[in-house]
């Protein structure tokens, strides 16, 4: 990481953190305008973040996918981008306060690991890599948005001073649609990973810790969808489930490699 890159990285991270703080301030002190303005701050942060991703791409000569740092950089970019987009589309700027802390957590974890550029090793030079990780980022981004919406729902629906039903309805719909989108992309991610694993390791499933956690996460989100569609789980119940379900995603993306060794998944490098 060059000095200039590091400066831009920290500016972006601090900007995100600041905007989350501003939104929480706006929520607590009922300053709606502050919450909306913070969304523009997140947009500026996302522009910087995009520059960082492009910079890293140009510097290494490959899509930033190698090692914890690059995965954190791009993974958090997807989270920030999808949070911003969903917040805009659903007219719900407070979403950033719920979802961006996860991007900050991932960025923090990434920068603590080895940030030196790694080559695109032979085993990763595969079309399936891009499919696998692109859909992984989409899925994790969508799940984070769902979790962020869940946190916002829980805050906005407190018994003392609940938000209007129309607002809660929109957040509820956002939780559901993000989960559906995440589940679809997660399914594609697992299938693509399995095909790639067959090419690389000769077996399409080997119960690697990352595989096991990914399957568990996929199943939990599948369960959330079934509960919503068939048992009518909405509102706070679904919100709590989505808030807890993100734990599986965080563990499979990040925790497995921090806590345990022996995973063949390459974001281990670094």
């Amino acid at each position: 990481m060059t000095f200039q890159f590091a400066v831009l990285f920290w500016v972006t991270t601090v900007l995100y953190a600041l905007m989350v703080a501003v939104q929480i301030f706006g929520l607590v002190f009922r300053r709606e305008r502050w919450i909306e303005l913070a969304q523009y701050g997140v947009l500026v942060g996302l522009v910087f973040h995009t520059v960082l991703v492009a910079w890293r791409w140009a510097a290494t000569g490959h899509v930033p996918t190698i090692g914890n740092f690059e995965n954190a950089l791009v993974g958090s970019w997807f989270i920030a981008g999808m949070t911003l987009w969903a917040g805009w589309k659903q007219r719900f700027p407070l979403l950033a306060a719920g979802a961006l802390p996860f991007a900050l957590l991932i960025l923090g974890g990434g920068v603590l690991s080895n940030t030196a550029a790694q080559p695109m090793v032979a085993s990763l030079q595969s079309f399936w890599l891009y499919i696998h990780i692109f859909f992984a980022w989409l899925a994790y981004g969508a799940y984070t948005v769902a979790c962020g919406a869940g946190i916002s729902y829980l805050l906005k629906s407190r018994a003392k001073d609940p938000a209007p039903t129309e607002v809660l309805g929109r957040i509820d719909e956002l939780m559901f649609r993000s989960t559906v989108f995440g589940f679809i992309t997660d399914s594609v991610m697992i299938a693509a990973g399995s095909i790639w694993a067959k090419d690389l390791w000769g077996s399409y499933w080997s119960w690697d810790p990352v595989e096991t956690w990914s399957l568990l996460s996929w199943l939990v989100y599948g369960l959330a969808l079934h509960l919503r569609i068939t048992r009518g789980w909405r509102g706070r119940k679904l919100a709590w489930l989505l808030v807890f379900a993100i734990i599986g995603v965080l563990i499979s993306f990040w925790g497995v490699n921090v806590v345990m060794e022996g995973s063949s998944h390459i974001f281990n490098v670094g």
Binding site: S187, S194, S206, T212, V256
Partner: protein
């Protein structure tokens, strides 16, 4: 008599069908699988993948998978008539209360009502008794059906793999032919399990090309060029296997050095010469061999790109540019000496001269026969098509009903609230 005997079964069948095809059972089973996977995930943190793999194949897992498949199958079976109606373009939702309404102009006629519905996204429209009916996301229910149906193929694939997967590991040096003779096979996973035979591929290794990143042990390329008996030349890479039939594939999974040793007498006549495939990669690793006709033990270390640095022999890179071989010769417990030999240089001991005229690469190839793999990929493809059909959301229907003379007409809407068009008024108490 038979009718009387079968009566209790027939009487209970609808109940059993309702239980097996119930949503509650689906959720209970999914919770059970999630619990199992939770335990497995914790286990994965403490044990190597082999142990986890064995645990994941235990009977409780299969029982719950079987129950899930039965549940899914019964659900799909019970849903089939409704699916057929939906795909036949029949209004199915209009018997239930609508979710929202949109008032329309009083002078709207049926011909233009169809256009209005199409503008709202209900592309398939039809005139019905009450007015004009339209549907959006007509194929979405089929998507759900295909996605869940694909689980049967995925589970069949997993079962096939567990029953019939077979993997041979072979080491073949550059220039050598692999003819599938048993003495060439180093290891076989699940020997004798194949019940769907396919002839093993035969090939000659023409070249193996590793490339490294700087002086680090990171491959930026590892590929082997193979010549097959039909004269075709194909390249396999570490992550790109060659398919040799429906479920047989050949993959390069590693490589090493194969030095050719030569033992000559003092007159220079060659007594023995052979390639030995050794585990001496990465540099620093030592392996040994024993000549066929002599009792010596020859320990070998290959330096692919040696250099002298402050009088010390070091290795500059992993590329086999001007290799040297570090040897140590012993007989029984008696160490006879050793040296660092460039290609063609020799070391003399007990009337013999040992030299290494060339070093080639050998490749480790895995020949995998897995009848489950193609079934799995078909399952994935079907599931993917199902997801594509679902990606636009659930099916929704609209019905335009003309108003009485001079009155405004109404478009009634059914379906997911997220897909209701702008300007629609939600109906009080709608689902």
């Amino acid at each position: 008599m038979w009718a009387r005997l079968l009566y209790p079964i027939r009487r209970r069948t609808p109940k059993l069908g309702r239980l097996l095809g119930s949503w509650k059972l689906s959720i209970v089973l999914m919770v059970v699988v999630a619990f199992y996977y939770g335990l497995l995930a914790v286990w994965a943190a403490l044990s190597p993948p082999d142990v986890v793999r064995r645990i994941a194949s235990l009977i409780p897992f299969w029982l719950v998978y079987a129950a899930l498949l039965i549940n899914t199958g019964v659900c799909l079976w019970r849903r089939l008539p409704a699916l057929q109606r939906e795909l036949r373009m029949e209004p199915t939702a209009i018997k239930t209360p609508p979710a929202a309404r949109i008032p329309t102009a009083a002078d709207l006629d049926p011909a233009h009502a169809g256009d209005t519905l199409r503008e709202l996204g209900f592309k398939n429209t039809d005139e019905v008794e009450d007015g004009v009916w339209g549907v959006r996301q007509r194929w979405a229910p089929l998507g759900t059906f295909l996605f869940h149906g694909a689980f049967f193929l995925v589970m069949a694939a997993v079962a096939l793999t567990l029953l019939a997967r077979d993997e041979d590991r072979v080491w073949v040096a550059v220039g050598e032919e692999y003819s599938a003779s048993p003495d060439q096979i180093l290891g076989r996973a699940r020997p004798g399990a194949i019940w769907i035979q396919q002839p093993p591929p035969r090939f000659v290794v023409e070249s193996i090309s590793p490339e490294f990143w700087g002086d680090l042990l990171l491959f930026t390329r590892l590929e082997a060029s193979l010549m097959f008996p039909d004269g075709r030349r194909e390249v396999t890479r570490i992550n790109r296997p060659l398919w040799k039939g429906w479920w047989t594939f050949l993959r390069l999974s590693g490589f090493g050095y194969a030095p050719r040793y030569e033992l000559t007498d003092r007159q220079g006549s060659v007594i023995e010469s052979s390639f030995v495939k050794m585990r001496v990669f990465p540099p620093g690793q030592r392996d040994f061999f024993s000549p066929e006709a002599f009792p010596h033990h020859i320990e070998v270390e290959v330096l692919p790109d040696p250099d002298l640095e402050d009088g010390e022999l070091v290795n500059r890179s992993f590329s086999l540019t001007s290799p040297a071989v570090k040897v140590l010769v012993s007989r029984g417990r008696l160490v006879l000496g050793g040296d660092v030999l460039g290609l063609g240089e020799s070391f003399e001991f007990e009337g013999l001269r040992l030299s290494f005229p060339e070093i080639r690469y050998w490749g480790e190839f895995a020949i995998v026969r897995d009848p489950g793999a193609p079934v799995l990929f078909v399952g994935f493809a079907i599931a993917f098509v199902g997801l594509l059909l679902k990606i636009g959301g659930g099916r929704s229907e609209a019905l335009w009903v003309p108003g009485a003379e001079g009155q405004t007409g109404t478009i009634h809407l059914w379906g997911p609230s997220a897909h209701l068009p702008d300007g629609s008024e939600p109906v009080e108490g709608a689902p």
